[in-house]
């Protein structure tokens, strides 16, 4: 179980995240939503140990993650929002590096890499440098690297970015099936339809604060709104999207 308690991140002059608390349970997919700049990626970077919180704590199975950060990272799988990869390596070499750093036995690693590249339709490009990959291919490599070591806790930050329809459908099915096998999954995304389909529980962020934190069914009942999109619009959206769209159309006609 992943517990976030009063998590706060301050930068000079800016509070990026303000006392956010939630719990992600094993066997469930927890959705983490919010507009750009709401603090989603900052939260994710703190949960993965890349950033240090200004205040608050992150517990995994009741222990602060900082108690043994290296051991914690061993059970963590992470798909980052920014597709940072080493472009001079091939897809297979990158996965090899990730597997070696995670201490997978060489034979197992080789088999897993071959199988994952095949399943993600990357087998033909396994020896091409990542610099020549499309955005979707890079995203597939990031997803493979995140699940290669069968992690207990999976953090997905915009995992559908750039994926083709087939791969997106595969990942959409993969997320609940990983959760069903007992993994804890935190899923941060802008794609509300997918979040609505795969998540059991959502946390909605706005300007660094959690403005909703409940199961989707309970939020629907409480707010008497039919979809997650309506709930999100009511909690977060500050201006009428139709009005903004009209203004844009007028601007380009000038």
């Amino acid at each position: 179980m992943l517990e976030v308690r009063g998590l706060t991140k301050r930068y000079p002059g800016v509070v990026a995240l303000d006392h956010v608390s939630f719990t992600a349970l094993p066997g469930e997919v927890t959705g983490y939503l919010g507009p750009n700049g709401s603090g989603k990626s900052t939260t994710v970077k703190m949960i993965t140990g890349l950033l240090e919180p200004s205040a608050g704590e992150i517990l995994y199975c009741g222990r602060p993650i900082g108690a043994d950060l290296v051991e914690y990272k061993r059970i963590l799988g992470y798909v980052p929002e920014e597709p940072y990869l080493y472009p001079h390596l091939t897809g297979a070499e990158y996965l090899e590096l990730a597997g070696e750093l995670r201490d997978l036995p060489p034979a197992t690693l080789r088999d897993k890499i071959g199988a994952l590249l095949e399943l993600f339709s990357l087998a033909g490009d396994r020896n091409a440098p990542i610099s020549s990959y499309s955005k979707g291919m890079r995203q597939k490599i990031l997803i493979c690297a995140a699940i290669l070591h069968d992690p207990e806790l999976i953090i997905l930050d915009e995992p559908f970015s750039g994926l083709d329809v087939h791969a997106a459908l595969v990942v959409r099915s993969l997320i609940p099936s990983l959760a069903a096998s007992g993994k804890t999954i935190l899923f941060s995304s802008h794609v509300l339809e997918v979040v609505e389909k795969v998540c059991n529980h959502v946390v909605i962020l706005h300007k660094g604060r959690a403005v909703a934190n409940d199961s989707i069914d309970r939020l629907r009942d409480l707010m008497a709104l039919p979809t997650l999109e309506d709930i999100f619009a009511q909690r977060v959206t500050e201006c009428d999207p139709d009005s903004t769209a009209r203004q844009i159309a007028e601007t380009i006609r000038q």
Partner: protein, 434 residues
């Protein structure tokens, strides 16, 4: 415990391999092959330089040994000793500056490796090991021919086999120390800037420091006064410190040389302290700091108003857009700036060698000199322009982001001729640079 140790060792090996690749992730060398072929390419490139040095230094000794007195031979050999040391230091300096961006952990390392179950100390030691291996490879390759042949030629008064072995060992010791000094000095400079400047200023100034250091290395190499006149300046020129150390190690008791050798040892110790200190601090503090900061150098006030310049010279909007784009790319792209610096550096190297000729041979021109100081100085702008044009030509052939060229291809209906005209005008404007 043993399992954890073995795990760290495996991680260490994987990281050393990764970092070694990243050092040479440059257009100068192909990175498509495996690491061994990549290192072979680099070693071959540097070994070729070593062979050239032997071909410059060695042949003359065949006749010198026959025709010169012992005193004259010693004097000729001193100049060659200094030449070998300063050349090796200059090449290691340029080599280090080419690795500049890979010396310290960057944003990519921090974001990728930061989420992996790897101890910072493992990342740090792997990077230090990879840096050490790259430096050792470069030193051995740069001196593989000259280091085997020259120590036996340039110390003419070596008496007996034992003395020759002593000179050989002294030569390699001083070369290692001098190369290490240059490497650590440049690394320490970047490390000090990384810790002393706010992150956004460091991003902006790092490539300027790299370019300035590149010109400083060339200036010192070409404009350092030749040995007979060097006494007053020797204290300030690092290659003379190591020259002094070599003299002391090969038996000189000259107090000037002893003082210079002290400078070499103290200088190397200090730079090692600064470089390793800033390096360790970078891993302890900078990895998290880098994740928090943006990896893009913020544009402050515009240094050169490209749009305004384009408005003055060009009426058509597509041409103006191209000219502005060219100017901003050359001003902001690290890769293009470095390429231009290399070509400008080659031009300056030639110019410096000419200036040195005027400075040091003006009163006593060598026999057979056909060119006076006036001709030498008059040729300088032309030579600089020549190298600038070649540098620009090469820079224009390297796309800053090939996949972003759809913008130009989609707007092609305005006419390719317009784009070509604008490119020519951009090249024309750049000739005012010198």
């Amino acid at each position: 415990m043993t399992g954890a140790l073995e795990r760290e060792q495996r991680q260490f090996r994987a990281l050393v391999r990764l970092f070694a690749y990243r050092f040479f992730d440059t257009d100068i060398l192909s990175v498509r092959g495996d690491l061994s072929s990549l290192l072979s390419q680099l070693a071959a490139l540097l070994a070729a330089l070593s062979l050239v040095i032997v071909l410059v230094v060695a042949p003359k000794y065949a006749s010198l040994y026959q025709h010169l007195t012992a005193q004259q031979l010693r004097s000729a050999a001193l100049a060659d000793q200094e030449f070998l040391l300063s050349t090796s230091m200059a090449i290691i300096g340029v080599f280090t500056l080419l690795l500049w961006d890979a010396l310290f952990p960057d944003r990519r390392d921090c974001l990728i490796l930061g989420a992996m179950p790897v101890r910072i100390r493992t990342v740090f030691t792997a990077k230090v090991a990879a840096l050490g291996a790259a430096l050792a490879l470069a030193i051995v390759a740069v001196n593989c021919f000259s280091g085997l042949v020259c120590p036996f030629l340039i110390v003419p008064d070596a008496a007996g086999a034992l003395s020759a072995v002593r000179d050989f060992v002294a030569f390699w010791f001083v070369i290692l120390l001098a190369s290490g000094f240059v490497f650590l000095l440049l690394m320490g400079m970047q490390g000090a800037a990384l810790h002393l400047l706010p992150h956004h200023l460091f991003l902006r100034w790092s490539s300027r420091i790299q370019t300035a250091a590149f010109f400083a290395v060339l200036t010192l190499y070409f404009l350092a006064p030749p040995l007979p006149t060097a006494n007053a300046w020797a204290k300030l020129v690092p290659s003379y410190w190591f020259f002094g150390l070599f003299q002391v190690l090969t038996g000189s008791a000259n107090p000037v040389m002893i003082a210079l050798s002290h400078r070499a040892l103290v200088g190397t110790g200090l730079t090692a302290l600064i470089a390793l200190g800033t390096y360790a601090m970078a891993y302890a503090r900078q990895m998290r700091r880098t994740v928090e900061q943006s990896g893009i150098a913020p544009s402050r006030s515009r240094m050169i108003p490209w749009a305004e310049i384009a408005r003055v010279f060009i009426r058509r909007a597509p041409e103006r857009a191209i000219l502005t784009f060219v100017g901003r790319t050359l001003a902001r792209s690290r890769q293009h700036r470095l390429l231009l610096s290399i070509y400008a550096g080659m031009g300056l190297a030639y110019v410096f060698s000419q200036v040195a000729y005027v400075l040091y041979h003006f009163k006593t021109p060598p026999p057979g000199a056909t060119e006076g100081p006036a001709q030498t100085v008059l040729g300088i702008p032309l030579i600089l322009l020549f190298f600038l044009i070649i540098g620009l030509r090469v820079s224009f052939s390297i796309p800053i982001e090939l996949r972003a060229n759809w913008l130009f291809r989609l707007t092609d209906p305005f006419g390719r001729g317009v784009y070509l005209d604008a490119t020519r005008k951009a090249l024309g404007l750049s000739r005012w640079c010198p």
